[in-house]
């Protein structure tokens, strides 16, 4: 990917430029310890892998100035607090906790280690030494919806949901809103797998959705199985979290790629410079934290429409959740001329007009 190469070059340049300084400092100061706790394996080809790409980017960027370590596949629940504390007690001065379920443990450990900085991904609780950060994944969903609107002949998209949380719900809504800008009659059928990861069930869900007339498959689960099913059945689909084109080169249109590198690099810089402060970052296309994988398997004019949507969101001309938006029952959720604020987006628990199926509750 171009952006990654660019970052690498940038990193190498920085490194070369500051080499004498680093050598001079090495004797005086130990490298900054940066710890990561992951919910999945680093080779999950999705969520955790993307974070680990960010971790490796730190090593490339800062060389001897940082020393990173991580613990993978730590289940949310009773174990996570121990692991976070372990990372903090082993000399890490900055700890990234990369799953929602680590929120309360992070807050608890942060109280015990006041001079360690913590960064919690996707949560909403902060403290003096705890920041939160996340990506506006829904922006990518909107772009996917626009592309789907152009390409779907049946006008039906099949969407595989993991667990019913606002993150997933806002993605579904952003997708159908984007799709309906092109095809106002478009509909979305959904299946909840009730798991983040089960390649068998995810693939089966794709089959069931295709049988119901969906000719575009989108997913908010972690494996590449739905895309592979799409390819076998001769329909199209979107990857999740990373570029999955290697798994289904003939089916993947594009993929919303989580790109944590710029954020991680910035936060390490802040700690080194002593300017780190607790903050809440929700970055999208504009911040470079969300990137679309190369467009494929679509005509040029559709790609152009997709790029236009990307550009529109980036420069603020397009707001995804801008009225008028109706929910499934036809009731007006967002009046014309207004936009949802971040809090309303972050707590979204309704499905937009055009979605068949429901949020389990």
């Amino acid at each position: 990917m171009k952006r990654r190469t660019f970052n690498k070059l940038l990193g190498a340049g920085l490194l070369a430029g500051s080499a004498p300084m680093i050598i001079g400092r090495a004797a005086a100061a130990d490298p900054l310890g940066v710890g990561f706790i992951y919910v999945g394996p680093v080779e999950d080809f999705g969520w955790t892998h993307a974070h680990d790409v960010g971790r490796k980017a730190l090593e490339t960027e800062f060389g001897d100035q940082v020393k990173t370590s991580f613990v993978e596949s730590v289940k949310e629940g009773p174990d996570s607090e121990r692991v976070i504390a372990e990372l903090a007690s082993k000399g890490n001065k900055l700890v990234f906790t990369t799953s929602f379920g680590y929120m309360n443990p992070t807050i608890k450990v942060a109280e015990r280690f006041p001079d360690v900085k913590f960064e919690h991904c996707t949560g909403y609780k902060r403290a003096e030494n705890v920041s939160t950060y996340n990506i506006r994944f829904y922006e990518g969903r909107y772009v996917q919806g626009v592309i789907a609107g152009h390409l779907s002949k049946s006008g039906i998209v099949g969407y595989i949901g993991s667990v019913p949380i606002p993150e997933v719900v806002m993605g579904m809504n952003a997708f159908i809103i984007g799709m309906r800008t092109v095809n106002p009659k478009a509909r979305m059928k959904i299946v909840w797998v009730n798991a983040w990861y089960d390649p068998g069930k995810e693939g089966d869900s794709a089959k069931a959705l295709i049988d119901q007339g969906a000719d575009i498959i989108a997913q908010h689960t972690d494996s590449g199985a739905p895309l592979q099913v799409a390819q076998q059945r001769g329909v199209l689909g979107f990857g999740q979290a990373s570029d999955m084109s290697a798994l289904a080169p003939k089916a993947q249109l594009t993929s919303s790629v989580d790109f944590w590198n710029p954020y991680y690099i910035q936060r390490v810089k802040d700690v080194i410079a002593g300017t780190w402060q607790s903050q809440d970052v929700w970055g999208g296309f504009k911040s470079g934290m969300l990137v679309m994988a190369p467009y494929a398997n679509m005509p040029d004019d559709v790609a152009k429409a997709g790029k236009a949507a990307e550009a529109g969101i980036t420069d603020g001309k397009i707001a995804v959740f801008k009225g008028p938006i109706k929910d499934q029952s036809g009731a007006e959720k967002v009046p014309a001329g207004t936009e949802l604020d971040d809090k309303a987006i972050a707590t979204m628990n309704w499905l937009a007009d055009g979605v068949d199926g429901q949020i389990p509750s």
């Binding site: 596949s73 629940g77 009773p78 667990v163 019913p164 009730n194």
Partner: protein, 358 residues
């Protein structure tokens, strides 16, 4: 066959205690070879895996916190396994204990701790028992095998938990995430040592093991269980009620699993979420057998497994080893521990001088 086993006729006192040491030695050698193959310094890796968790400031208390639920569930299961009641659904009973106790904690957050904690413990036990009563009833009334029913109910329990935390019990201030509100401080079991996470449940786990030991050695039921373990046929002739033992095994196993669930959600987790157990109910089955189905042995089994988890995390942080190595290391450790126990009842002999049966 090159080696053969010769019955000793009675349990070897020496090997009862020496076999775990031999197993450990064999594990160390095998693991060293594997670490070397992975390009890591074998000695350093072994140190990080087995010793470093015990030496760090937080390591030892954390070891007990991690072992507590394993011991609590393991004690209950070990009694049931002696009666040949195969409750492998402790994970589900743990979940129901957590749900029952959690429901109470959410309903009466203001109640004084002195009332609320014991009530939650009782409800935790009740929750586990309720879930275990289903396989018990289906087994005694309809003859349905408890392996299948208890396992299937584990999946159902997990889905019930997801339903509750995404639906009716969802924290209204939780941004729509699947979780309940945090439990109040009076619903949190007391911490026993300042600055650690060692909570009341750790002591309860050890107490349960001691009580289990007394029951096993001093009571009629314990006698029946011991006879069943050693001579099932004699037990049948002696007229032990199979039905009663099924109920008893599942109630004790389920109750203690439920109690473990209560302590984990009220203590280390502090709320109900979809992921309240890293597979404690299944790991405890191994713990029960590592402890040779003896309540005091279960304590050691629980501590050993807990150590392997902590060691695996330390190996990831300090050596950059993948998490997968933890599983391989645990597997090898368990293989040797289980295999070496054969020396308690049998002698290892060289090949027979004359050809004979296998």
């Amino acid at each position: 066959m090159l080696l053969r086993l010769e019955p000793r006729g009675q349990r070897s006192r020496l090997w009862t205690y020496a076999s775990p040491l031999l197993a450990l030695a064999l594990t160390v050698v095998t693991a060293a070879v594997i670490f070397a193959m992975l390009g890591k310094d074998p000695l350093q890796s072994l140190y990080v895996f087995l010793i470093s968790p015990l030496t760090s400031a937080t390591g030892l208390p954390e070891l007990f916190v991690k072992a507590a639920p394993l011991i609590l569930i393991g004690v209950g299961l070990s009694l049931g396994f002696r009666a040949n009641v195969w409750n492998i659904g402790a994970e589900g009973q743990y979940t129901l204990g957590a749900i029952f106790a959690g429901g109470l904690a959410l309903s009466y957050p203001e109640a004084p701790a002195i009332l609320l904690i014991p009530a939650m413990m009782l409800l935790g036990i009740l929750g586990g028992m309720t879930w275990a009563a289903i396989p018990a009833y289906l087994r005694t009334r309809w003859n349905a095998n408890e392996i299948l029913t208890s396992l299937m109910l584990t999946y159902v329990a997990q889905l019930l938990l997801i339903y509750l935390v995404t639906g009716p019990w969802r924290d209204p201030d939780g941004y729509g995430f699947p979780q309940t509100a945090l439990f109040s401080s009076s619903a949190t079991p007391p911490i026993l040592f300042e600055g650690t996470r060692v909570h009341l449940g750790v002591v309860v786990a050890f107490l349960a093991a001691i009580v289990g030991w007394i029951v096993l050695t001093r009571s009629v039921i314990g006698f029946q269980l011991r006879v069943l373990g050693q001579a099932p046929r004699a037990a049948r002739f002696a007229g032990f009620s199979q039905e009663r033992l099924v109920w008893l095994s599942l109630m004790v196993g389920g109750g203690l699993a439920g109690l473990a669930g209560m302590f984990e959600v009220a203590g280390p987790v502090g709320q109900l979420t979809p992921s309240i157990s890293p597979g404690y109910g299944f790991t405890a089955i191994i713990v029960a057998f590592l402890g040779r189905l003896h309540p005091i042995g279960v304590i050691f089994g629980g501590l050993i497994l807990a150590l392997s988890y902590l060691g695996g995390e330390a190996a990831q942080i300090d050596l950059g080893m993948p998490n997968a190595v933890t599983g391989i290391f645990q597997g090898i450790l368990l293989f040797f521990l289980l295999a070496c126990d054969v020396l308690i009842l049998y002698r290892l002999r060289g090949p027979r001088p004359l050809a004979g049966g296998a």
